[in-house]
């Protein structure tokens, strides 16, 4: 096998196959530490706060939110788009990087895919609550109802229903398919009978037969081929929710690529936020190395720059269009009452990632962690700016208005953060956070091991 003299090894510490299994299974087999208990108590409290606020919203009605007749979409849709975007890095890492044969993905794909699923779950909650009567949510599906009406297939909001549900199901399938061999590993390692039974059931009777591996690899590759355009389609469709309207500031053809780049940008930021902590707490520094962090940071510069260019293009096009409403909308974004939101967005998304051009900063964990949180905040504000600033000054000055979230809305958002982290913390206790079998396939080609020269 060829070993590059220039590149760093993907996995450090000269690991044997057995050590890899042991290291990655250790967090599941051992007792959780203090940090885990603290994390889960915090996220569970946040989650219950969110649940209470959701309950209150459903009980009292959408009047508990700060929405008004001008701004019908506020934090709800901002959070929805933000969470969907965060989900995109997982599929990007597992699907697009698999197709591009990027071997560094193997250390991070499992946790990123898990993150995708949890993020899409959080996202899905918002349209559901915003309906006001979530029990009637099945109205969005095309079913033969008593009035012989069909859902509106021409509406981007219905495309969203199909896109998000497909995305959730396919991501779940992709994640679980990758998990099966590793659940098999856990089944063969755990001692207690109950655990053995549960892992045995979940492993689907995996034996490790070559025929199964052959099919499994083919399956993963084609699922990746299917999921890659899905990543692009889902956020394009989300952007179409806005772009097909006639509101100034939304009605732009740049939205689909710009939203997709933004989604991958924010998703990678969240992966970094999670993994920088995870690798430290679970002692996985040899598997998620500085080289992995650096590679992700490179994707952040690329996507962040695309987002930056998109902002500037929007400004240019609004001026060049000669449409006064468009020109006003963008001037108002930068200099209107919500100028501070626009400033946060620009600082966090356009200026701060440019610091990653310096190699030293790309490989600095503390800096990367802080920056990743900056980007999470910046991308949230991007959605806020797009939604609220466009709505609060529409064609009719008589309907101009301002928007301020209520505590209920803030609570629901905090609640979804709690839900997300609760799911992630439970996940790291139940399943291997790194794809054990996949890491083993890259370890021989990763340098530090002695490579046999015999040809086959």
């Amino acid at each position: 096998m060829y070993v590059s003299p220039i590149r760093e090894p993907l996995i450090k510490g000269n690991k044997t196959y057995s050590q890899i299994t042991k290291d990655i299974a250790a967090p599941i087999e051992g007792k959780p530490g203090k940090a885990w208990y603290m994390g889960i108590s915090l996220s569970l409290s946040a989650m219950f706060l969110g649940l209470a606020m959701m309950g209150w919203t459903i009980w009292e009605g959408i009047g508990t939110w700060g929405l008004n007749r001008t701004i019908g979409w506020g934090w709800g849709i901002t959070n929805f788009v933000w969470w969907v975007g965060i989900g995109h890095a997982g599929t990007f890492i597992s699907a697009i990087l698999l197709l591009f044969r990027q071997k560094w993905r193997t250390s991070i794909n499992r946790s990123a895919e898990a993150m995708t699923i949890f993020a899409v779950l959080c996202a899905g909650l918002f349209p559901l609550i915003h309906m006001g009567r979530p029990l009637l949510a099945f109205f969005v599906f095309p079913y033969p109802n008593t009035r012989d009406l069909w859902v509106n297939f021409n509406s981007p909001l219905l495309w969203d229903v199909f896109a998000i549900s497909t995305y959730l199901l396919v991501s779940l399938l992709f994640w679980y398919m990758g998990l099966i061999p590793d659940i098999g590993t856990m089944r063969d390692r755990v001692k207690s009978k109950a655990k053995k039974f549960i892992y045995g059931l979940l492993s689907f009777g995996w034996t490790g037969s070559v025929k199964h591996w052959q099919r499994h690899e083919k399956l993963s590759l084609i699922l990746a081929g299917l999921a890659a355009p899905l990543v692009l389609s889902v956020h394009s469709i989300v952007s179409a929710d806005f772009a097909t309207s006639i509101i100034p500031g939304w009605h732009t053809t740049i939205f689909p690529p710009y939203f997709v780049a933004g989604a991958i940008f924010s998703g990678f930021a969240m992966v970094l936020t999670l993994l920088i902590v995870t690798r430290k707490v679970l002692n996985l520094e040899n598997y998620i190395t500085l080289a992995h962090i650096e590679s992700m940071n490179k994707i952040i510069i690329a996507t962040g720059s695309i987002v930056g260019i998109a902002y500037l293009t929007e400004l240019f096009i609004s001026w060049y269009s000669g449409v006064e409403y468009e020109q006003y909308a963008f001037l108002n974004r930068a200099a209107g009452p919500y100028w501070w939101a626009y400033a946060i967005m620009m600082t966090c998304n356009v200026i701060s990632p440019q610091l990653l051009w310096f190699r030293k900063l790309r490989r600095n964990l503390v800096f990367t962690f802080i920056l990743s949180i900056f980007i999470n905040i910046g991308m949230w504000f991007e959605r806020f700016v797009i939604i609220v600033t466009s709505l609060h000054r529409d064609y009719l000055p008589s309907s101009w208005s301002m928007y301020k979230p209520t505590l209920v809305e803030v609570g629901i958002f905090v609640g979804t953060l709690g839900l997300f982290f609760t799911c992630f913390l439970l996940f790291i206790r139940a399943f291997p956070v790194i794809a054990i079998a996949e890491v083993k396939t890259v370890v021989k080609s990763s340098g530090e091991k002695e490579i046999k020269n015999e040809t086959l």
Binding site: W159, T207, G208, K211, R215, L226
Partner: protein
Amino acid sequence: MRRYISAYFTDEQNLLRATKDLRDQELSIQDVLTPFPVHGLDHALGYKRSNLPAVAFVCGAIGLVLAFGFQTWAFVVDYPLFIGGKPHFAIPAFIPITFEVTVLFAAFGMATAFFISSKLGPGANNVIHDERITDDRFVIIVDLDEDGNHEATIKSILEKEDAKNIQVKEIEK
């Protein structure tokens, strides 16, 4: 009575060479079990390419026809209603849902085919030969006839490639 030899390897390169030698001698290999996909092993064992891509294509095509057909039927035949100035047969507006349903059908069709053809699924009762297979052992299982004609040849090939724990096992048919 069915007899077979099982042995384990600690290095996948030895396993690959042993597999090739056994196949050259036209000995029947029942199964090879590995902790991770070893590339080239399926080729060495003479396995054909998997048909899963074809299954995915067919399932995807079914999803495509269903989704596009359903939208067309609903908006052209069953309840033609003008919405947003779009024509009844609004092809571009039907594409997103058609695409999503195509992907959904292809993905789940292929996964189902994988489970059925590999006899995997919740509650599947497959024999686990050795618990270390999912850790770091590569196990090869070679069929023997009742007279044990090839036993010596098989053992010598396995030993040459540093196989450990070579065992002859018998199971009732």
